[in-house]
Amino acid sequence: MRIELRDIRKYFGPVKANDGISLVLEGGRIYGLLGENGAGKSTLMKILSGYQPPDSGDILFDDQVQNFSSPKVALGKGVGMLYQDPLDVPPFTVNDNYLLGRDNRVVLDYKSAIQELQEMTSRFSFELDLQSNIEDLSLGERQQLELARLLVGGAQVLILDEPTTGISAEQKDVLFDSIRKLAFEEGKTVILVSHKLEEVQELCGEGMVLQKGKLVGKTELPCPNEKLVEMMFGQVPERGERTEFPLGQPVLGLVDLHVTTYRLSIRDVDLTLQQGEVFGLAGLEGSGQRILLQACAGLLHPDHGKILLSGQDVTGLQYHRMQDKGVGYAAAGRLEEGLIEGLTLAEHVELAKPKHRFFIDRSQLNTTTESKIDQFQIVGRPDSTADELSGGNQQRLLFALLREKLKLILLEHPTRGLDVRSSNWIWDQLYQRREDGTAILFMSADLDEIFERSDRIAVFSGGVMSRVLETKNTSVDEIGHLIGGQA
């Protein structure tokens, strides 16, 4: 099938998300769609998959103008989109989720559903427990399930939005194999939306680069990374070089830590972090990294074991006490976890201050906020509300709100969804903190980031933490094995 996009425009108020994009996509090929954050990739794909209508422009399949009023219609025409966060229904069972929107009979036919699913999973060698609930599956498994669903639904065009975020290296390999199979054996059109140049280079035959809502370039792949980067950013950004930093006194000590939660427990964690150290936690999402971070932050409490902060036993202290002791925590959710919709930047700054007066001194607060805005290069005013900020600025605000003089900073996905330049800037800020003797413990779904930024690495798998690895003495392969649960 030949797909043509003609002069697609989509404006959100003053923002031109898509500003006259025209593209032609052929069957049997894999395309990479690249671009900085906010370049318009997601919008374009949402338009193609029927999730949003364009303000103007046409979508043509084999020269026929299509009108996708909804994703359902789009899928009916053969366009399926696999989101980074799969669009499934977590409380449903695998079967229910699979059947939702598929079967038009009133009473559900589980038998054929199971049969179809089994066929599909074996075709792509996915391993899925069909009896479990979606929320008990890993992100990779959920993606596989979505993929299976889209294919059964007759997708000819597959759009994959950051599909490798948060899945294991092995799952990634399985996924890429299936994608190739689909494109080359079954003649489907595949569009991969990604930040990760390596993945795009590895998988795609043609790259298309968006910048500020416009298509700025096309290239056959593979090609030199520099070319792609130049197309995306206009110039190659400085990669923050990680410098060796002399480590100081132990800051964080975890002794035989056990933490139990409703869904997962972590066991037998022993770990020591020194001043100035950056420690990365790798692993599939939901393998226990987050539990460890939250335990260190005082958000979860261990069943047994000890947490030492600068040699002091802080086991069982509440989050706010830990904050006072010099522990900073930034969750990944931003507006869900960390920032407050409807509150201004100034109000955020005031709330995050360690010491408060009873009455708020508005003018002083404004001054403080202004200086934070300058320091963290936030695009906004003291009286802008948090929800008015763009994603990157929200992340900057989150870091601006971390207290000064912290002993330990705990981070979840510090640069998720950010472009390379923003990521670098953020890590520069973090590295500066090391000067004060701050240790950083972070988790990321991005193995590159972990490799690039950490001094040492540990991998979580099913609640068990692997041995601690020196970054310079390990390899992506080794980590990949560990992520897959092999020692």
């Binding site: 999730y51 949003q52 909804s70 994703p71 359902k72 219609v73 899928l75 989109m81 669009l87 499934d88 229904v89 977590p90 409380p91 449903f92 229910d96 059947l99 939702l100 929107g101 598929r102 079967d103 038009n104 009979r105 009133v106 009473v107 559900l108 139990t260 939660t261 409703y262």
Partner: protein, 324 residues
């Protein structure tokens, strides 16, 4: 036929719980689609009044139920319209409707207070009614009670075993996903809010036409709130909800018995039992303690325990969904 006091009492508890069961099923449908219809208490009063007035004027019980259903659906429509189309707080609209339903039913029903009118006829199911113990408890009732049994089953089946049920639940659990698969989220929400409201209307009318026969100001006051609490206690499942309603009915019967058993305790004190129970039950299903019990339990027991104790509401409950 067995007519021991215990059997008769159980039959009475079932009868008295019927409207609650019906209202709980209605509200479960609504909340499963993602809307909280907080106006239940006012809706029930309005529909109890309407049901009686229509039945009285037409001398036809079923027209009464139909009228009540219409009123319930209309109130529910206001909630749906206000929250979906106008994106206002569902709680606020529901709460105002609660108070409005109370006053409006008192005003409109003022000329129909406590006059005798038509009631639902008793109908014992042949054969079934002769089963020892079970028969007199369950099958020596009336059509509305049987309707409630069927409704519980149908609601459960509809929610968990049918395609429309999947669509409905997807609207409440993950509207984005449902929408991506062609489910008209807001359509689902309108539909099930209105259907749910209609059922609440039936519940209201079954008070005035079946249980607390006739109309009087404030006839069903409080039952709407109890139904809302039972929905939570029942974990948004009609079958558990039914048990919740029965438990509540049993508590009230217990309060009556206790007064005779413990005459030395102040009469007034027993009236508080259902409310204390309501708090305790919500505490049981909501608190971390329950979660801890589950995690501490042996692994083999965890899943059933989880099923039994753990409550998770529809995840998009009360949120608005913008289709664009």
């Amino acid at each position: 036929m067995d007519s021991s006091p215990l059997v008769l009492t159980l039959a009475s508890i079932i009868l008295a719980s019927t409207p609650l069961i019906i209202a709980v099923c209605g509200e479960i449908l609504t909340e499963r689609s993602g809307i909280v219809n907080l106006s239940l208490d006012g809706t029930m009063l309005m529909s109890a009044m309407t049901g009686f007035v229509v039945a009285f004027e037409t001398d036809n019980v079923w027209l009464g139920f139909l009228g009540a259903m219409g009123v319930g659906a209309f109130f529910a429509f206001i909630v749906a319209f206000g929250s979906i189309r106008l994106r206002q707080s569902q709680f606020a609209i529901g709460f105002v409707l609660t108070l409005l339903g109370d006053d409006l039913s008192a005003f409109l029903g003022q000329n129909y207070t406590r006059i005798p009118g038509p009631v639902v006829q008793h109908y014992a199911i042949p054969i079934l009614k002769d089963i020892p113990i079970i028969g007199p408890i369950f099958f020596n009732q009336n059509v509305i009670v049987y309707f409630a049994y069927i409704l519980v089953f149908v609601t459960w089946f509809w929610l968990f075993r049918t395609q429309p049920g999947l669509r409905l639940r997807s609207a409440g659990d993950r509207p984005e996903a449902g929408f991506a698969r062609g489910v008209g989220i807001n359509f689902q929400r309108y539909l099930y809010t209105i259907i749910g409201g209609g059922l609440v209307g039936v519940a209201g009318a079954s008070y005035s036409l079946n249980i607390k026969i006739g109309w009087a100001e404030g006839l069903t006051r409080g039952f709407g709130w109890i139904a809302l609490a039972i929905v939570i206690f029942g974990g948004w499942s009609p079958i558990r909800g039914m048990f919740g309603a029965l438990l509540f009915g049993a508590t009230k019967a217990l309060a009556t018995y206790l007064q005779r058993t413990f005459p030395e305790v102040s009469v007034v004190a027993f009236n508080a039992i259902p409310w204390v129970l309501m708090i305790l039950v919500l505490l049981l299903v909501g608190s971390d303690f329950t979660e801890r019990v589950i995690t501490v339990a042996p692994k083999s027991l965890r899943r059933p325990l989880q099923r039994f104790l753990k409550i998770s509401p529809p995840q998009a409950l009360g949120s608005t969904f913008v289709e664009d």
